[in-house]
């Protein structure tokens, strides 16, 4: 049975997303996010080479510049200036969230089995790539659910967006260039604004712990 | 063959009844009991039971007691076949060791226990268990069940002056009443469905038998100590005298699980609801039991929680056997059943050994608290040696019997996963393997704590410093059980043949079990022992004149005191910290002194763990029941007129109901 390289990369990226959940150290989370993005860049480039759609090279390049280089550096800088290193986490300790994410990985496999097949490819190839992308989604969601630091919420949101992008790539033979560009600019803007907002939250409240947002009620 | 077996069993029972009647009479008249007589009678009875088991293994014999003995609605019928004789054999071996151990142990407790009562209750307890294993219909079963329950409650409260024992006996009595209630309900329902009291007529494969099966499972699980009904076990087993704890933990739990096998597996239960419920209960007891065993300071509580873990493991095997039966995989189901029975036997042996060892410590060091023991290795060397063998067996280390049965369980789980009936079932088997791995790591932690804090190091109390070795019969009892552990470990493939008839009776095409066991256990035992001996002889022992004895490394501060050692709580602290939500763990520390930070003068640490079920569910229920009881008190105002009024009202109501229906 033939398994192409980009399913392998998709699964590896999903595994890295799951492993990202196991750490409470912000630097490690950002490094693992960077690894995911590099893998996705490689996958996009390979997709472009295999399916002879040159505009995907441009998408890969944009991904590389924006999310493999710019965003991690930006978030690293913010983390250093906000002086956060460890995320206290929610009620569930970090390793258990990682195990939960593995279970959701299995669930995404079963979801992937029941998806309708696109025309060009067949069988386990599609299931493997669907598994990878849906589990990115779940990992991002679990990260947003179980972390208290606003920085971790952003990383979770970015992982979620990775999952959506991978799903679009594998299930639909690629979206048009314009749509991808629009999505990228949106994400870039969102991250920049979130970064600026985190500064002002830190200045007003002395912390960026989102579980204490309910103090705003009084 | 049948006549010999019947004769042996009846002779044993009669002998014990006569002896216990004599004991009762002597106790009533206040005469002093010489321990030698009842102990010899028990020993002889144990031997005849063992012979009966060996003869009974080859036959399948059902007999009813003759005419004068009749239990109101059904005859007293007994069924001796391969399955019952395995359990009778286990009972016999434990009875033999208890008979050797009891006289020496009772010397230590003689001023607190009425000896005559103890022996009478012990005989009745053992007769009850024997009758229960042999019971072939529901009424016989219930009669002997009650006999076991009541005699063991009395045994738990042997030491009436001890408040803990009284509370434990009360809780145990309540639990066993509830268990009997569930069992009776289930049996009555089955009787009305199958129109017969006899177990061989009860078939559980119809849909209508679902609820009676659940009732019977709950009743038996309460007695076996399965979560969530395990709460009575850590009270009752430690409070009883050590030989009785050995019997209760080693055999009584197994007898309940034997009843489960006899009724449900032989009766052909296939319902997935019941079997998955049993599997879930078994898995949770497995983890919960050993988790709580880790944090106990009392040696016998530690062993009692460990019994919960092993009872859960046996229940997991039984439920997987039923599941395999339901999905039409009888060869793997037979393996699970064989593993369950084998683990019953092995656990009975090594748990009794451990309880007898704990009893020996209690006898000599006058305490069971691990924080006050230590340094007993030089004082009780043989007891320690047998305790180490028992602990190695319970941690399933090769080449002992714990490893043999655990290996069989792992192999059955792997074969179930390998068959790929469905991905869910294979995933479930692999998760069971993972949970079993975690639990075996935890039991290693638990028993190294028990041996390390209890026997090794320096004595932590005055009594531990002045302990001496126990008497020869007590050592002989432990030696017998230790030899059985080693023998069953080394000859495990041959034991598979012993369990073959029982598995063939339950599952139609059971494989030849002795072919399943592919590890040459005897080879490993010889290899480990031989290589160790060689290495020891050649390299280490030839330089006794080059060995200098000195104090333990103390960083040059001078010799360490007895307080500068690990405590039981400290040794297990890693687990209490990591699993603190499960323990409702709280640790409060207070440091006092003129300059607290740099020169503390007084440090107090208070740690507490609270059982979740007992405090959050059972205690509120008990409080509600008490409250209702107090409200009901209002109904008994003490006035005769009120009572006559009640009678009149009931009469009127009954007449109205009688007219209407």
């Amino acid at each position: 049975m033939l398994v192409t390289v980009y399913e392998v990369i998709g699964i590896m990226s999903a595994v890295v997303a799951v492993l990202m959940l196991g750490s409470r150290n912000v630097q490690i989370q950002l490094s693992m996010y960077a690894i995911q993005i590099w893998l996705i860049v490689a996958e996009t480039a390979f997709f472009a080479w295999q399916y002879k759609q040159p505009h995907f090279y441009i998408i890969a390049l944009t991904l590389l510049l924006q999310r493999a280089i710019l965003v991690p550096l930006f978030l690293h800088g913010i983390a250093r200036r906000l002086n956060v290193t460890r995320d206290p986490g929610m009620i569930v300790p970090a390793p258990l969230t990682m195990h939960l994410s593995v279970l959701l990985f299995g669930l995404s496999f079963f979801v992937g089995q029941h998806l309708p097949m696109p025309s060009a490819v067949s069988g386990p190839i599609v299931i493997a790539s669907a598994t990878g992308s849906i589990s990115h989604l779940f990992s991002g969601l679990v990260m947003m659910l179980t972390r208290r630091l606003a920085l971790s919420q952003i990383v979770g949101f970015l992982t979620l967006e990775n999952g959506v992008y991978l799903f679009a790539l594998s299930q639909t033979d690629g979206l048009p260039l314009l749509m991808e560009m629009a999505v990228f600019i949106d994400i870039l803007g969102a991250v920049m604004i979130a970064g600026v907002l985190m500064f002002s939250i830190k200045k007003s409240f002395e912390h960026i712990d989102v579980s204490r947002l309910k103090e705003l009620k009084h | 063959m049948q006549i010999i077996a019947t004769f042996l069993v009846t002779a044993t029972v009669l002998l014990w009844l006569v002896c216990s009647a004599t004991m009762a009479a002597l106790a009533f008249f206040g005469k002093k009991i010489n321990h030698l007589v009842p102990s010899t009678v028990l020993f002889a009875g144990g031997l005849t039971m063992l012979l009966a088991a060996m003869f009974g293994w080859q036959i399948n014999y059902l007999w009813d007691a003759p005419w004068p003995i009749y239990l109101a609605v059904a005859p007293l019928s007994s069924h001796l076949d391969a399955l019952s004789s395995i359990f009778i054999g286990l009972l016999a071996v434990v009875v033999i060791s208890v008979s050797l151990f009891s006289p020496g142990y009772l010397e230590h407790l003689s001023h607190k226990i009425n000896n005559g009562c103890y022996w009478v209750e012990l005989f009745l307890f053992i007769i009850g268990m024997l009758g229960l294993i042999l019971a072939a219909n529901a009424v016989t079963f219930l009669v002997f069940w009650e006999l076991i329950a009541l005699s063991s409650v009395l045994l738990v409260v042997s030491d009436l002056s001890n408040r803990q024992a009284r509370v434990a006996a009360f809780i145990y009595l309540g639990a066993t009443r509830i268990a009997t209630g569930f069992l009776m309900a289930g049996f009555l329902w089955m009787h009305s469905l199958c129109q017969s009291w006899s177990f061989s007529d009860w078939h559980f494969d119809q849909h209508a038998t679902l609820i009676p099966a659940v009732l019977i499972v709950i009743g038996l699980c309460i007695k076996a100590g399965i979560w969530p009904f395990h709460d009575w076990l850590p009270y009752a087993h430690p409070a009883a005298p050590a030989p009785v704890s050995a019997l209760m933990s080693g055999v009584m739990i197994k007898v309940s699980l034997y009843a489960l096998i006899r009724l449900l597996v032989m009766g052909g239960l296939v319902s997935p609801w019941v079997s998955y419920m049993m599997l879930a209960m078994g898995l949770i007891s497995l983890f919960w039991g050993i988790l709580w065993a880790l944090v106990q300071k009392d040696l016998k509580s530690l062993l009692a929680y460990c019994s919960i873990e092993n009872a859960g493991l046996i229940l997991v095997c039984i439920s997987l056997a039923i599941i395999c039966h339901g999905i039409n995989m009888p060869e793997i189901g037979a393996l699970f059943l064989a593993a369950a029975i084998f683990h019953c036997v092995n656990h009975g042996l090594f748990k009794s050994l451990l309880f007898l060892g704990a009893g020996a410590i209690d006898c000599r060091a006058h305490t069971r608290d691990l924080e006050l023991l230590g340094g007993l290795a030089g004082k009780l060397p043989w007891t320690m040696f047998f305790f180490v063998i028992g602990s190695a067996a319970i941690c399933s280390l090769p080449p002992l019997n714990g490893f043999s049965s655990k290996w069989l369980i792992y192999q059955s789980l792997f074969m179930l996963a390998n068959k790929f009936h469905s991905i869910w079932l294979s995933g479930l088997s692999m998760s069971c393997i993972a949970i079993l791995g975690l639990v075996s790591g935890m039991s290693l932690y638990c028993f190294t704590k028990a041996i390390g804090i209890g026997f090794l190091g320096r004595p932590r109390s005055h009594a531990a410093e002045h302990a001496t070795e126990v008497t020869l019969p007590m050592l002989a009892a432990q030696l017998l059980l230790a030899l059985c552990c080693v023998a069953l470990g080394i000859s495990a493939p041959d034991w598979m043949a012993v369990m073959q008839p029982a598995c063939t009776a339950a599952f139609s095409n059971a494989p030849v079990l002795s072919n399943v066991y592919t590890i040459p256990m005897a080879l490993f035992a010889f290899l480990i022992a031989g290589t160790s001996a060689i290495i020891y002889v050649l390299w280490l022992s030839d330089q006794t004149n080059n060995v200098k004895k000195y104090v333990t490394w103390e960083c040059g501060f001078g010799d360490l005191t007895k307080r500068m050692q690990a405590t039981a709580t400290g040794f297990a602290e890693n687990v209490t910290y990591t699993f603190s939500p499960l323990f409702l763990y709280s640790a409060r520390s207070k440091i006092a002194g003129r300059d607290r930070r740099h020169f503390p003068e007084d440090v107090t640490l208070q740690v507490s763990t609270t059982p979740v079920l007992a405090s959050r569910i059972y205690m509120p229920i008990v409080r509600v029941v008490n409250w209702l009881g107090e409200r009901m008190l209002l109904l008994q105002a003490g006035s005769i007129h009120l009572y006559l009024c009640y009678i009149l009202l009931t009469l009127v109501a009954l007449m109205v109901i009688g007219v209407l229906i």
Partner: protein, 316 residues
């Protein structure tokens, strides 16, 4: 003739390879720290020196302390006999997966008891730490090796690690995930960084060293050699997993497999050097988080094995 040669070579590896592995690790760490370091054969000299020294034994110890090192060496030799850690290892009977894991548990049992035997507080808390860590790592080891056994449909180790069995594409991620899980588990089992620093001199930070702190002379020589042998066997097992993962692309004939298996053990030693020099030791309360990574990789291995077998049965 060939068979006798294989046996001789195997026993030579059992005796000589473990001190080579530890020599490579120590030399490598020294070079990374900018020192020259001791020669590669220093562990051999250390063992011979220890064998000739007198022993100092604590007064509080019992027969457990005196017999545990002999028992551990015997058990580890049996483990080296049954685990297929070298491609050319002759097959001894009774190599079962679960027996291997419980023989490792037997070693641990005796080591923990001998640590508690002297009544030393250092030995006691090191023993409790070792028991705690190994308790958490057990499930990962069980199901990562169980996943490999599922692929081979047998729990017999020589069947699982047989290089001549066909390896389908679905099995490669399982071998890789199992290798990762076993590697992370081996860091805990062998007490390397970032769980435990083997070169520390502060007793409060020790896990493994404090357990063997009371041994001296011949006892210490046996204990050290047992530890080195265990390290070599575990690294050999992991390199066999990697060879299986690579085996889908490259065909190994017997001689190549033999040479690669020995060289890759030394390669694992170099990887250990890099990890020990780059990563810091974890805080004690963070070590369960590290073990969770091993658990996750073993979950992936088992899931991969189950899914792969599901596809194999449905003919995809």
């Amino acid at each position: 003739m060939m068979a006798v040669g294989v046996y001789v070579l195997f026993f030579a590896c059992v005796l000589l390879l473990p001190p080579c592995v530890i020599g490579v690790i120590r030399k490598g760490k020294a070079l990374m720290q900018g020192r020259v370091g001791a020669p590669l054969s220093q562990p051999f000299f250390d063992l011979f020196k220890l064998l000739g020294k007198d022993q100092t034994v604590s007064q509080t110890t019992t027969w457990i302390f005196r017999s545990s090192c002999a028992m551990n060496l015997a058990t580890t030799l049996i483990i080296a006999g049954i685990v297929p850690w070298l491609s050319f290892k002759p097959i001894f009977p009774g190599d079962d997966l679960f027996l291997l894991l419980y023989l490792l548990a037997l070693c641990r049992f005796m080591t923990i008891l001998s640590a508690l035997d002297s009544g030393s507080p250092f030995g006691a808390f090191a023993a409790s730490r070792e028991a705690f860590l190994s308790m958490l790592v057990e499930p990962a080891m069980f199901i990562s090796l169980g996943a490999l056994a599922l692929i081979a449909h047998s729990t017999s180790l020589h069947v699982v690690f047989d290089l001549s069995l066909p390896c389908s594409t679905y099995d490669v991620p399982v071998w890789l995930a199992a290798a990762a899980a076993l590697f992370l588990g081996s860091i805990v089992d062998l007490s390397r960084m970032p769980i435990d620093d083997p070169t520390t001199h502060l007793e409060l930070t020790m896990v493994h060293e404090a357990m063997i702190i009371e041994n001296s002379g011949k006892n210490l020589a046996l204990v050290e050699f047992t530890h080195f042998l265990r390290m070599a066997v575990v690294y050999g097992l992991i390199s066999q997993c990697m060879m299986h993962a690579v085996g889908r692309l490259v065909e190994f004939n017997q001689l190549t497999a033999a040479i690669v298996s020995v060289v890759s053990i030394l390669g694992m030693a170099v990887l250990t050097v890099w990890i020990e020099s780059v990563f810091v030791k974890l805080r004690w309360r963070s070590t369960p988080e590290f073990i969770a990574y091993a658990m996750t990789m073993s979950f992936f291995a088992t899931g991969g094995a189950l899914i792969g077998d599901m596809y194999a049965r449905h003919g995809l």
